[in-house]
C-alpha cells in the first residue's frame, strides 16, 4: 500500500468521440494517471444513471462521463439527454450526502486526446482530494452491508 490515496475511477465513453479520443491519446503516447478504467457505450445517451450508482456503490471513488460536444452527437442530440441525467445524478448524490464532484461530465471529440488526458489528470487529483468514497459504509454506517465489507475491491488495487 502506498501512502498516497489512489482512487479508482470508472469512465464511460462514447464509441464515436471520447473512446476514440482515448485511442488517440494512446496513439500519441500522452501520459495520464492509470486510475481510470473505461467502458465503451455506443453513445453517452446510453448512460443509465444506475451505472453510475452501481460503480460508486461497488468500490469506485469517482465516475467520469464523456460524450460528444453539444451539437456533434452521432445520434443527433442524445448527448443532451446525458447532460440532463448528469445533472440529475449530481443532485441525487448531493441528497445522499455524497460529494457531487465525484461525478464529472466532459465533452471530448475524437480529436481531443490531449484534452481527455488532461481532464482525467485533473479528475484523479480532484477525487484524490475528496478521499476514498467508502460507500455504502459512509451512508449506512459500517457493518450494515455485510457482503460489501468483504469486498476486496480496495485491496485489489494498488
Amino acid at each position: 500500500m502506498s501512502e498516497v490515496f489512489e482512487p479508482v475511477i470508472i469512465g464511460f465513453t462514447c464509441n464515436w468521440c471520447s473512446y476514440r479520443a482515448a485511442d488517440l491519446a494512446g496513439t500519441a503516447r500522452i501520459k495520464y494517471p492509470p486510475n481510470v478504467r473505461l467502458i465503451r457505450l455506443m453513445c453517452s445517451g446510453r448512460l443509465d444513471p444506475t451505472f453510475v450508482f452501481k460503480a460508486l456503490s461497488s468500490g469506485a471513488d469517482g465516475v467520469l462521463i464523456t460524450g460528444c460536444h453539444p451539437g456533434e452527437c452521432h445520434y443527433i442530440e442524445q448527448n443532451y439527454k446525458a447532460l440532463r441525467r448528469y445533472l440529475l445524478i449530481r443532485r441525487t448524490l448531493k441528497q445522499m450526502g455524497i460529494e457531487p464532484g465525484r461525478v464529472k461530465l466532459v465533452w471530448a471529440s475524437a480529436a481531443e486526446g490531449v484534452r481527455l488526458a488532461e481532464e482525467i489528470t485533473i479528475l484523479v487529483e480532484e477525487i484524490r482530494q475528496l478521499g476514498p468514497l467508502d460507500w455504502p459504509g459512509k451512508i449506512t454506517g459500517k457493518g450494515q452491508v455485510a457482503f460489501l465489507e468483504e469486498s476486496p475491491a480496495k485491496e485489489a488495487v494498488v
Partner: protein, 677 residues
C-alpha cells in the same frame, strides 16, 4: 453483486483469454505473462479455461491459435486483450466465425491504447491491464450469439437538390438503369452553378458545361423530376423509405404548357429577382428563373401576381395558346418508395451586411460575389457589362476582399474553400473586361488542387495587385487628397508593416459559404446529424465522406461543407456509386447493435417514443405497447437507459453486460484473498 447471487447464469461457460504483446508495444509496459497467469488463476471460477499470450495476436498465426482452441477446447467465449476494438474487433470476430463460433461471442479489450501507451509505471499498468481484462471476461459471459440484420433494398433512389452535385448523382444512377426521383425547391434545377459566368480555373462558361447535364436530367427516362417541390416527410428505413413530397402550385399545367414563354412576355408585373439575379435584376410575376431552365414550365409568383393580389389581370391566361394557366391549382402531396436517399441541398451565402465595416448595403458600390457573378454574366442584368450601381460607369479601380464572413470567429470559423479562387477569377474578369486596376486583399492565398496555383500565377502575370492583410474597413469618408468620391479600403499591408488607404471605385466582397438556413430542420427530417456549424455530418471525415450515420442516407456537395464544383461533382458520383452498390446487392447486412422492447414488461408510458432521434419506436395504441423497428434503430441505447420499466434491452450493450463489466473492472470477481500487489 457478485456471482454467488446468480450461480447458474455462468454455468458451462468456457472462456479463452488471449493476451497480446504487440511486440514491445504492450509487453514493454505490461507484464504480459503475469496477466496471462493471473487470468487463469483468478478468473478460473469465472469460466476462463485457457489463457495464452502471443507476440502478435492479430497475425494469421495468432488468429489460428484462437481458431484451434475454439475447435479443440470447445471454447464458447473469447476475450482478446490487445489493441483498440476500432482497429481489430473485426479481425478477431472473423477468426471466431471461421472456427464456427458466433462472432459476437468475442470481446476485444484495449490494453495498448488505454494502458501500455498511456502509462509508464509497469506495476500500475499491469494491475490496470488485469482490471480491464477482468471487465472483458465479466462482460463476455453475457454476450449472446447474434446474426446481422438483412434488409432488402428498393431500387429507386431519391436525390434531394438539383444543383451540380445532385445532378451528377442522379445521372450516374439513372444511366446505370435505375429509377431516380429528383426533388428541387426552386422552379428550375441548376443550383448556384447556373448563376455563374465562368468557372475557375479553366474559365469554362458555366452554362456551357451545366446546361447539357440539366437537359439530360429533364429528359432522362429513369428520372422523375419534381421541381418547385419539397420533401415534407420521411418514414421507413434503409432499403424502404416512404417519402412524402409537397408539390407547390405552379399555377401552370405542366401537361399543357409548351414553355413558349408568351405568358412571361405579356405579364405586366416586374419584380426584383432576389434569388437567381441576387437582387441585381428583374423578373416577371410569372417566370422561369433563366432561359435554359429545366423544366421549361414557368411558375406564377403568388405574392407578386396582380391577379392573386388584386383580383384582376389574367394577362397570362388570356395570351396562353394552350390554356395551360390554372389559377385554381392547389398544392399536391406525392408519396414515393425509395431504397436510398442522397441529400445534395447545397449552401447559402453569408450575408455581407453583417460585416458592417465593409459597408455592404450602405455603400452603393460594394458588391457581393454572387452579385458580381450576375454582373459579369453575359446573360445577366447588364449583359456582362461590369458597371457601378449607376448602371453606366465602368470602374477604373476595383478592390476584391477575401475571407468575408469566413475564418473569423465573429462569423464563421471555417475557411470557405472557394473564395480565394473566386477572388482570382473576379480579378481576371475585371481586368479582361474593363482594364481597371485590381487589388486582391487576402490573409493567406489558398490555391491547392489541380491547376489552381497556375491560375494564381496567371492573375499575377496579368498585373493584379495583391495586398496581404485582412481589410479593416471600407469607407466613403475621404480624408486624404484623391479620396473624394471613392470607396477607401483601409488595411494594414502586413508585408510592409504599414497602414494603407487605397481608394477604389468598386469593392467586391468574396463572400463565404454557409449551411442552408434550414439545414438543421432538414437534417432532423432525414434523421441525420449536423456539425455545430450546421453542415451535414459525414460518417467518417476521411474514410466515409458521403455516407451518414443513418443507413441509406447519403450526402453530396456543399451540404456537407464548403466545396468547389469539381469536388461537388466527385461527391455526387461517389454517393451514386455507394447507392448503386447497395441496389445491385439487393439487400444489406446491418450490425445487430439494436434495442428491443419486451412487450410483457412495457407499460405503454411512451417515454421512449420521443427520445428516439430516428423515429424507430412505434406505439401500438390498440395494445398500449411500444415497439422498436430494428431496421430504423441505430443502437444508441438512449431508450434502454430511459425505460422506467426496464422493458427495453440493447443487444451488444445490455444492462447485464455493462453492469458486469463494472464489476469486472472493480475486480469484484477476484477471490477475497487475491491481492494483486
Amino acid at each position: 453483486m457478485t456471482s454467488q447471487d446468480n450461480p447458474e447464469k455462468d454455468q458451462g461457460k468456457r472462456i479463452g483469454v488471449y493476451v497480446c504483446h504487440c511486440g514491445t508495444n504492450i509487453a514493454g509496459t505490461v507484464d504480459v505473462e503475469d496477466v496471462r497467469d493471473w487470468a487463469l488463476e483468478k478468473l478460473g471460477d469465472r469460466g476462463v479455461v485457457i489463457s495464452r499470450d502471443y507476440k502478435f495476436m492479430c497475425s494469421s498465426l495468432g488468429q489460428e491459435l484462437i481458431e484451434k482452441d475454439i475447435q479443440e477446447e470447445k471454447l464458447d467465449r473469447v476475450v482478446v486483450a490487445a489493441c483498440s476494438p476500432h482497429l481489430h474487433e473485426k479481425t478477431f470476430r472473423t477468426a471466431c466465425s471461421k472456427a464456427g463460433l458466433n462472432p459476437y461471442l468475442c470481446e476485444l479489450v484495449s490494453i495498448r491504447e488505454q494502458v501500455s501507451w498511456v502509462h509508464s509505471d509497469k506495476v500500475a499498468a499491469t494491475a490496470k491491464a488485469k482490471a480491464v481484462l477482468s471487465g472483458g471476461v465479466e462482460r463476455v459471459i453475457h454476450h449472446q450469439p447474434l446474426d446481422p440484420l438483412h434488409v432488402p433494398i428498393q431500387p429507386a433512389t431519391l436525390v434531394v437538390g438539383g444543383g451540380i452535385a445532385g445532378i451528377q448523382a442522379a445521372l450516374e444512377i439513372a444511366d446505370s438503369g435505375f429509377p431516380v426521383y429528383m426533388v428541387e425547391r426552386e422552379p428550375s434545377i441548376g443550383g448556384h452553378m447556373a448563376q455563374f459566368d465562368k468557372t475557375f480555373p479553366t474559365l469554362d462558361c458555366a452554362a456551357c458545361i451545366l446546361t447539357p447535364k440539366m437537359v439530360d436530367v429533364g429528359s432522362h427516362n429513369n428520372i422523375t423530376l419534381l421541381t418547385w417541390s419539397e420533401v415534407v416527410r420521411v418514414e421507413g428505413y434503409v432499403g424502404n423509405f416512404t417519402v412524402t413530397i409537397k408539390k407547390k402550385p405552379r399555377y401552370v399545367d405542366e401537361e399543357l404548357c409548351t414553355g413558349c414563354g408568351i405568358c412571361v412576355e405579356k405579364c405586366p408585373k416586374k419584380v426584383i429577382d432576389e434569388v437567381f439575379e441576387a437582387g441585381l435584376g428583374y423578373r416577371k410575376a410569372v417566370y422561369t428563373p433563366f432561359p435554359q431552365s429545366v423544366p421549361k414550365f414557368p411558375v406564377i409568383d403568388y405574392e407578386n401576381c396582380t391577379y392573386f393580389q388584386k383580383g384582376t389581370c389574367k394577362a397570362c391566361e388570356k395570351f396562353c395558346p394552350t390554356g395551360a394557366i390554372d389559377f385554381n391549382q392547389k398544392e399536391e402531396f406525392i408519396t414515393i418508395q425509395v431504397g436510398n436517399i442522397i441529400l445534395a441541398t447545397g449552401y447559402d451565402l453569408f450575408d455581407g451586411r453583417r460585416v458592417t465595416q465593409y459597408g455592404y448595403g450602405r455603400l452603393a458600390n460594394v458588391y457581393t460575389s454572387l452579385e458580381f457573378e450576375r454582373l459579369s454574366n453575359a446573360a445577366g442584368p447588364t449583359n456582362g457589362d461590369i458597371v457601378l450601381r449607376d448602371g453606366v460607369t465602368h470602374p477604373a479601380s476595383v478592390g476584391i476582399i477575401h475571407c468575408v464572413g469566413s475564418r473569423d470567429r465573429n462569423y464563421n470559423n471555417y475557411c470557405s474553400v472557394i473564395c480565394c479562387m473566386q477572388g482570382l477569377k473576379f480579378a481576371h474578369l475585371v481586368k479582361e473586361r474593363t482594364g481597371a486596376t485590381v487589388y486582391n486583399f487576402y490573409i493567406d492565398m489558398r490555391t491547392a488542387y489541380k491547376a489552381y496555383d497556375e491560375f494564381y500565377q496567371r492573375v499575377l502575370e496579368e498585373g493584379t495587385l495583391f495586398v496581404r492583410g485582412k481589410v479593416a474597413e471600407v469607407t466613403d469618408a475621404a480624408r486624404l487628397p484623391g479620396e473624394e468620391g471613392k470607396l477607401i479600403i483601409q488595411t494594414e499591408d502586413t508585408l510592409v508593416g504599414k497602414q494603407r488607404r487605397i481608394p477604389v471605385d468598386m469593392v467586391i466582397l468574396s463572400i463565404g459559404l454557409e449551411p442552408r438556413a434550414d439545414s438543421r430542420e432538414v437534417a432532423k427530417l432525414f434523421g441525420i446529424s449536423c456539425s455545430s456549424d450546421g453542415w451535414f455530418t459525414e460518417k467518417h471525415p476521411k474514410l466515409d465522406p458521403v455516407a451518414t450515420m443513418t443507413e441509406g442516407i447519403f450526402i453530396a456537395g456543399a451540404a456537407q461543407g464548403p466545396k468547389d464544383i469539381p469536388t461537388s461533382v466527385s461527391q455526387g458520383a461517389a454517393a451514386a456509386a455507394r447507392v448503386l452498390g447497395r441496389i445491385q446487392q439487393g439487400e444489406i447486412e446491418l450490425e445487430p447493435v439494436r434495442a428491443t422492447i419486451d412487450e410483457s414488461r412495457c407499460s405503454g408510458c411512451r417515454i421512449c417514443n420521443n427520445l428516439c432521434p430516428f423515429n424507430a419506436i412505434l406505439f401500438h395504441s390498440d395494445r398500449m405497447v411500444s415497439e422498436i423497428n430494428p431496421a430504423l434503430c441505430q443502437g444508441c441505447g438512449t431508450c434502454v437507459a430511459a425505460c422506467p420499466a426496464g422493458a427495453i434491452s440493447g443487444t451488444v450493450f445490455s444492462n447485464e453486460q455493462i453492469l458486469s463489466q463494472i464489476e469486472g473492472l472493480l475486480l469484484l470477481n477476484v477471490a477475497p484473498m487475491g491481492g494483486t500487489g
